[in-house]
């Protein structure tokens, strides 16, 4: 695959200056991104898997014949049939419907929790890296302590204390992700704050908060985007795991981890709910990982 990318090189030389070219610039960066993605087979396979699940989630009502909550007491724990494509679970609910709607749950909560984590991480990491000194010391010591927790343990403690709900799952995963993001933002900030344009902004008398948000943060975006994608993979991983541990979304919300947990005890009579939900989470998480990994390798090649 190509080691140099003419499009990016050209863009650097002809940086858009007028307002009209801004739109063109956006279009170009989208094309550049596509070029980066298609340069890596790993990223392409990953993206395909992710898009597949996104489509299933979006069109869930159109591609299922039942709602995920309908119970049919005459058809409990049955294998695939014409009526139920992937069989039914222990309450007679359609497995395919629960998988399809479960994709909505995980694809909504995953990115949402990562967004919250990014907001917190940026809010902590930017000032720490910018001011350094004692602010940095205090913030980093506390974050180190959070990083000493195995993530799943932190989630377990938080959710056992505040109870299992989708809101609490998002909060828990955001708290778990914040320290890592803050560290990354801090490291990037410490590098960028020494650049000339930051010094120039300071000379102009711009307040610190504007410098941080307008000058430094936008210039951190490259590594942050890759990190964001990686973290969506982790978030999906942990939402599934929490569901499996019985600490995820309360029933009857369709949730893959929860489906595995519920079907676990009926596995000897009916493997379908467990098998489908397991394969769903595996393909989604691996797809997200492959996409982010491929993208990271490809972008690192340019640096």
């Amino acid at each position: 695959m190509g080691t140099e990318n003419p499009a990016t090189a050209k863009q650097i030389h002809t940086a858009p200056s007028a307002a009209l070219t801004a739109l063109k610039g956006y279009w170009k960066s989208v094309r550049d991104l596509a070029q980066v993605i298609f340069a890596s087979p790993t990223a392409v396979i990953g993206l395909t898997l992710v898009i597949l699940w996104v489509l299933i989630a979006v069109f869930a009502p159109l591609i299922t014949t039942h709602t995920p909550f309908e119970q049919d007491y005459k058809l409990v724990n049955k294998g695939p049939s014409a009526l139920h494509l992937f069989g039914t679970d222990d309450l007679g609910r359609d497995v395919w419907a629960r998988v399809a709607y479960g994709a909505r749950t995980i694809l909504l909560l995953g990115p949402l929790s990562v967004l919250v984590a990014f907001a917190c991480g940026v809010a902590l990491g930017l000032p720490a890296g910018y001011y350094q000194g004692w602010v940095d010391e205090v913030v980093m010591r506390i974050l180190d302590a959070f990083m000493a927790f195995p993530a799943i343990l932190l989630y377990m403690i938080i959710i056992s204390a505040v109870g299992a709900s989708s809101f609490n799952v998002v909060i828990a995963i955001a708290i778990g992700g914040t320290p890592g993001i803050a560290r990354l933002v801090r490291a990037l900030t410490m590098d960028i704050r020494t650049r000339e344009y930051v010094a120039a902004a300071k000379l102009c008398g711009e307040p610190d908060i504007i410098i941080m948000l307008r000058e430094i943060l936008p210039n951190c975006r490259g590594p942050l985007i890759v990190d964001f994608l990686l973290r969506i993979g982790y978030a999906a991983f942990y939402i599934g795991t929490l569901g499996f541990l019985g600490l995820g979304l309360p029933p009857p919300t369709p949730d893959w981890g929860g489906m595995v947990q519920e079907g676990h005890s009926h596995m000897t009579t009916n493997v379908w709910p467990v098998l489908c939900a397991t394969l769903a989470i595996v393909t989604l998480v691996i797809g997200l990982n492959m996409f982010a990994d491929g993208l990271r390798e490809e972008t690192m090649r340019y640096q």
Binding site: R141, F149, P150, A151, M156, I157, V162, V260, T268, M290
Partner: protein, 436 residues
Amino acid sequence: MARYVIRRLMTMLLTMLLVSIIVFAIVEIAPGNVARNMLGAFATPQQEESMRQQLGLERSVIVRYVSWLFGSDWQAEPKVGLPLRETVSQQGLVARSREWWAVEPNGDLVQWDVQESQLIRLVRQPDGSTHKQPADQDWKVDASGQAYFWGVDTGNRAAEWIRGSKTVEYTYDYSGWQEKVDAPVEYIPLSKGLLRGDAGMSLRYKEPVSEVIGRRITNSLILAALAFLVSIPTAVLLGLIAGLNEGRLIDRIISIAGLITAGSPDFATGILLIMVFALWLKVLPGAAVFTSKSAILKDPRLIVLPVLTAGLVEVGYVLRITRSSVVEVMNSPYVRTAILKGLSYRQVVVRHVLQNAMMAPITVIMLHVNWFIGGLVVVESVFGYPGLGNFILNAALYKDVYAIEAASMVLILLAVGTQLIADLIYSLINPRIRYT
């Protein structure tokens, strides 16, 4: 070097202190307080209030934190005016009961109780029973003329009684709510504190948390050690094969397999392995339920699937690191020099590539120990393996607060300690790292 070790130890100490604050804060201050969790939805406000008093939850957060970490016996001793001692007696096979007593100058162990407005001294006899003595002469009188007494009650608490206060104490046991008049007005639950090995009573198992955890840690360590012993050599070997054949079919296959095993959630890997080996092939048991302490030795098949599951995730991760480090070394100038010098391929691989590839597992322990431990927690719950992780999960589901707190602290200490040791070993064997 010594300086470096000491500095690292101090950092670790600070981290653990902060961790203890975080754990305590999340578990105890979070909405849905401890007493409510214990009592369920049907307790009256009076009953809840009494329970909170007895558990010492009315004390300030800082006092509770200090008591949890360092114990409360030294806080209560000046009030009681006698040294306090904890006795441990065996009850049945496993359960041990712990009781607190005040030690009188003549060596008697005593507790107190108030019945029908009368103070009663309970003196411990050698056989563990108690001898009742009326002790109304022991009431003390404060400045306002009120008779009061600080002693140790029968529920392992230092307590203050006020004569004629008619305070009602509610206790909750197997037979339901019990009501007792002439109860103490203030309690200090006695404990030695986490740092002195007393983590409180498990609300679920009704025995000291430290007893239960001790047994669980052994099981978890066995699982972790086996998973490591199986996965690391496999992963290094596969990573080496893949790295030496960069870009060929075998590399592609190994790399993709590594990506899949490293990326799959542990519970999914576990479930798929159960399906294949327990459900379809019927060669291994799908759960690791221990019927006795030596169950692992009697039936080693019990532990095969948990080890495989915990190991597979590690295999994927270590394999990828090994592969990329092998690829890097193979493209390095010194390997080219070695080949040009006329060394055989075999010698180059053994002398240069393998040595560098062996660094990978240690790096992994450093970077990955938390991930690995988190994975163990999940694997243990998939198979019902009686380890520390499964214990924490059950404690979390049951809201067994003292168990969650203690077990989390132990788990994090293990994680941080492993990281520190791996870090020190790494700086010892890697000549490129200089400690400052």
